[in-house]
Symmetry: D2
Subunit: 262 residues, 4 copies
C-alpha cells in the first residue's frame, strides 16, 4: 500500500540546544520512499550522518525560541507483513555476524534477567518463530497497552513490574524475552497506518528461520501498513530525538498517516 506520513514537532527552547533527530525514513527491503520533505524552523542547519545501525540521523542546534520540525513522506510499503509460523531457531554458530549484537542486553532490555520467566512462557512451543509468537501473546495478555507517549523510557524489568506501558515498553519486554532465549531481537520505530490513537509507533523484529520478521505486541493481529524510520538495539539507539543539555520536552507532537492508493 502507499502511505503518506506526516510528523510535526515543536519545542520551546531556552538556550541553544543540540539535538539528534531520527526522522528520515530510508528505502529498504520492505519500503520505498517515493517522496519526502523535511523542514526545520528557518535558519536552522542540520547535518546528516548514518549511525552504526544504518539509520539516517540529523544533528542540529535549536536556537532559543520556538523550534519547529516537519517531515512528510510518501512511502510504498508491504500490504501484509511476512509471517512464518514454524520458522526454526537459528543456532548461535549459524547467525550472521551483524546479527550477534542483537543478542546482547541493552539499556532498556535487561535480557539476562528474563531467562527463567521466558523459559516458562515458551515451554512447549517449537524453538524459533513459534516461541517469539508465544512471547508476543504473553505480552499482549499480561502487559496492559496504554497508547500514548511517555517521555521517560522505562526498562523491560520496570515494564514487567508495572504491568503496563506504551508501545515502546511492550517492545522492550518482548525483545528482552527473545534475547533471553538466544533469539536476536531489535527495536523498530516508525509509523503504523490506522494506529489508534495516531502517533509515532514502536514494534520489534526477531531473527528466526534465517531472516528478520516483524512482530507487534500492541496490535491484535499483524497487518500491513508499517513504515520503519529507525532500528537498533532499543529505544536508546532509536530515539526519535536525543537532546543534550537542560531537558526540553515537545510542546506539540502531531502525527498523521494517510492511505494514498484506493
Amino acid at each position: 500500500m502507499r502511505l503518506r506520513t506526516i510528523a510535526e514537532m515543536s519545542f520551546d527552547i531556552a538556550v541553544p540546544t543540540p539535538f539528534l533527530f531520527m526522522l528520515r525514513a530510508r528505502s529498504g527491503y520492505q519500503q520505498w520512499v517515493a517522496r519526502e520533505e523535511y523542514a526545520f524552523s528557518s535558519g536552522v542547519r542540520a547535518v546528516e550522518h548514518t549511525d552504526i545501525y544504518g539509520n539516517l540521523c540529523q544533528r542540529l542546534i535549536a536556537p532559543p525560541g520556538t523550534f519547529e520540525l516537519r517531515t512528510t513522506a510518501d512511502i510504498t510499503t508491504a500490504d501484509h507483513m511476512d509471517r512464518a509460523p514454524g520458522a526454526p531457531f537459528v543456532l548461535i554458530q549459524d547467525l550472521p555476524e551483524p546479527v550477534l549484537t542483537y543478542l546482547l542486553p541493552s539499556r532498556y532490555c535487561e535480557a539476562e534477567r528474563f531467562n527463567q520467566m521466558t523459559g516458562q512462557i515458551v515451554a512447549g512451543h517449537q524453538p524459533g518463530y513459534d516461541q517469539v509468537q508465544a512471547i508476543v501473546d504473553w505480552v499482549r495478555s499480561h502487559i496492559h497497552y496504554r497508547p500514548g507517549t511517555s517521555n521517560i523510557p522505562i526498562s523491560a524489568v520496570e515494564v514487567n513490574q508495572q504491568g503496563q506501558g506504551v508501545c515502546r515498553d511492550l517492545a522492550h519486554i518482548a525483545i528482552a524475552m527473545c534475547r533471553s532465549i538466544s533469539i536476536p531481537a531489535r527495536m523498530v520505530v516508525g509509523y503504523l497506518y490506522n494506529l489508534e490513537p495516531m502517533d509515532l509507533h514502536a514494534w520489534f523484529e526477531a531473527y528466526v528461520g534465517g531472516r528478520w520478521y516483524s512482530f507487534d505486541p500492541t496490535q491484535p493481529t499483524l497487518e500491513g501498513g508499517y513504515v520503519a524510520v529507525g532500528l537498533g538495539r532499543d529505544a536508546a539507539d532509536v530515539a526519535i530525538y536525543t537532546q543534550f543539555g537542560p531537558p526540553v520536552f515537545p510542546l506539540r507532537q502531531h502525527v498523521e498517516v494517510h492511505r494514498l492508493d484506493p
Copy 2:
C-alpha cells in the same frame, strides 16, 4: 543557495535487466535535502542499500519495454565552496584511517603511472592544497574539456593520451595525479548549477589540511551550487547507473537545475 535538481532517464529494455542506480542525494556536511521525489515506471520495485562509501544505491530489475526514471530534489547547498590556499600536505602517518583507501590506485585512476609527470607539474608549489591547485590548473590548460556524456569511461592514462575528455575524465586524471604524490583524492558525481550544457556532473575532492576540499577542473573558477549524489574512488564506484547483462544505453537523459531562492 537553494536548488531544485531534476534528472530523468529512459531506457529501451529488451530482457529483464538488473540495475544499480546511484541517484539519491544524501544530506551531509555541505548540503541538506529538504525535499525529494524518486519514481520509476509503474510496477518496478527498487530496494535501497548503503554501499561501502556511504552512498545510497537503488537496486532493481527493469522489465522489457520502456523503462523510465525520474528524480527531483530541493537542496540547500553552499553558496561558496571552501578554499584553503596554503593548507598543508597531511603526512601518511597522520591521515585518518578511512582516508587511506583514497591513496590507492583504482580502475580509472592508475596513480602509479603518474609519479614522474606529476612531480614536474607540482615542482615549486607548497605541498598540500597548492599542489592540488597546480594539478587542476595543469588539467584545465592541457586536457581539453568536451562537455557531454560518454558511456564508456576511459582511464587517466587514456585521458592523458587523448588530451581531451568529459568532466569524469578530467576528474580521473586529476585524482590519479594527486594520489601519485600521496594526496588522497576521490570522485564526486552530482549536479552543478549553471553547468553549460546542463547534465550530470563530476568533480573531485582532495584531502589536505585535515579535511576534504572540492576542486573542479572543468570550470574556470570554483563557485558554489554543487550538489553531491555519490562519492568514491572513481567512476567505477560512483556510476550513476551500473547495469548487468546485455548492454543497454539511455534513450534519453535529461537534467535540470534551478535556483529557488532569489
Copy 3:
C-alpha cells in the same frame, strides 16, 4: 614498556554451549601485539569476526566436559598514558560521527539518571578533561573499590546505591556520569601491569580535546602498563565472554602480566 600477558580460563560444561569470547588484543594506536598465542581444548574450532566496535570476537561451541582456554601475548604498550588537563569539552556539533554513539545511555550506564548528581560534582571545573577528572576523583573517594570478579554485572544506578564495586562497576558509574554531561565515554577491558590482585581489568576512555583519553578510577594515579583487549559502550558490549544457554561459570580464571623489558 613490553609486557607479557597470560589469561587462562576453564569451564565445566554440561551441554554443548555456544560462547563468544573477546580475548584477542589488537594492535592499535597505543599498543603493538608482537606475539600472541590463543588455544582451546583440543578439537574445539573457533570462528573469529569483528564486531561493530572493531573488536575481534571468537565464536565457538564448548563441548561437554572441561573446556579450557589459554591466551598469551607480548605487547609493547605506552610507558605513560596521555593526560591533558585543560583539554576542552567538544561541542556536540563538532564530535566525529562515530563518537556520537558513546553519548547514549547503555545497558549498565543509565546516563540520563545522573544529570543532577554529576552537575554538582563537576561544578566549578572547566568543561572537558577537568570535569572527567573531577568525576574520577569523586568515584575514587565515594565508591569503594573491591578488587576481584563478580559474574553478574550491576548497573551504574545500582553501583551508586551499593557504594562499592569491582573495576567494571567503577568504570560504569564514571561513564554514566560523563555521558550525563554530554562527554562521550566508553569502556575498555584488558590487562594492567602491577594490578593488585592480578586479574582482567576494566577502565574507561572519555572524548575531550578532540581525542580519547584513558581514565582509571580504581588506581590512585594513572600510570602506564595498560593493554586493551576490547572497547565498547559498556560491559554488555565488551564482556570477556558471553555465553548462551544454561548459565556456566568459570571453574578457574587465572591472569598474569609480566614485564619483559628491563
Copy 4:
C-alpha cells in the same frame, strides 16, 4: 592441517618512507591463528587499523638504513577447500549487499572489457560454479603461469595480451572474466603449502550458490593448505605492502610454509 608460515622482507631505505603492510593473518571462517609473531627492525613503531574489507593493515615509517620485517604464524586451515560443482548463479537482486562491490571493475580487473570473450568461454556451462570452473580451466590452459614475483602489477587486459603472468596476474584475469558475466569475484593473498617455488601467493574467490568459493588458476587441482592474509577487489587493495614516496623495492623476500601436524 596445521601450518607454520614465515615471511621475511628487507628494504634498503634512503629517506624516511611511509609503508602500509598487510601481513597479519586474521582468524576467520576457514582458518584459526593459534600463534603469531610480527616484528620490525628495532625502534620502528607500527599502528594497525582495519580497512574497508576487514583486513588488518600496519602503518609505519621506515627510517633510513636497512629495514627488516619478520612475521610468522601457526595456523589451522582447511585440509580441503570446499568445492561445489553445480552451485547456481545468484541473481543480482538476491546478492547480499556487501557482495555487490565485487561486481564492479577495479584497478587491475577491467571487467567490462571481457564480456564477449568470457561469453564464448563459458558457453554451454551451467550458470554459476561451473562457469567459474570453465574460466579457471581456460586461464590455466591459455595464460602461462610464470611463478615468481613481479613488482609492477599489470591489469587483466595486459595479462591477456602477454599470455603469461605471475599468480596475481592469473587471478586478475579470472576475476575480470567472472565479473564480466555478473559473478562477484575477489582477490585473496596469502600462503599456500607446497607452493613451488615457495613465495607469497594470490588466488581468488567467486560468489556462487550463496557463498564464496576459492579457486586457484595456478594449480592443477584445488587442494588444501591455503592461508589467507588479505582480501579485496584486486591487488591494489590487497598489496602485501604499499609504499609512499620514492620507489623502494625489497632487497630480500623470503617465505616458508611448514606442516606442523603429522
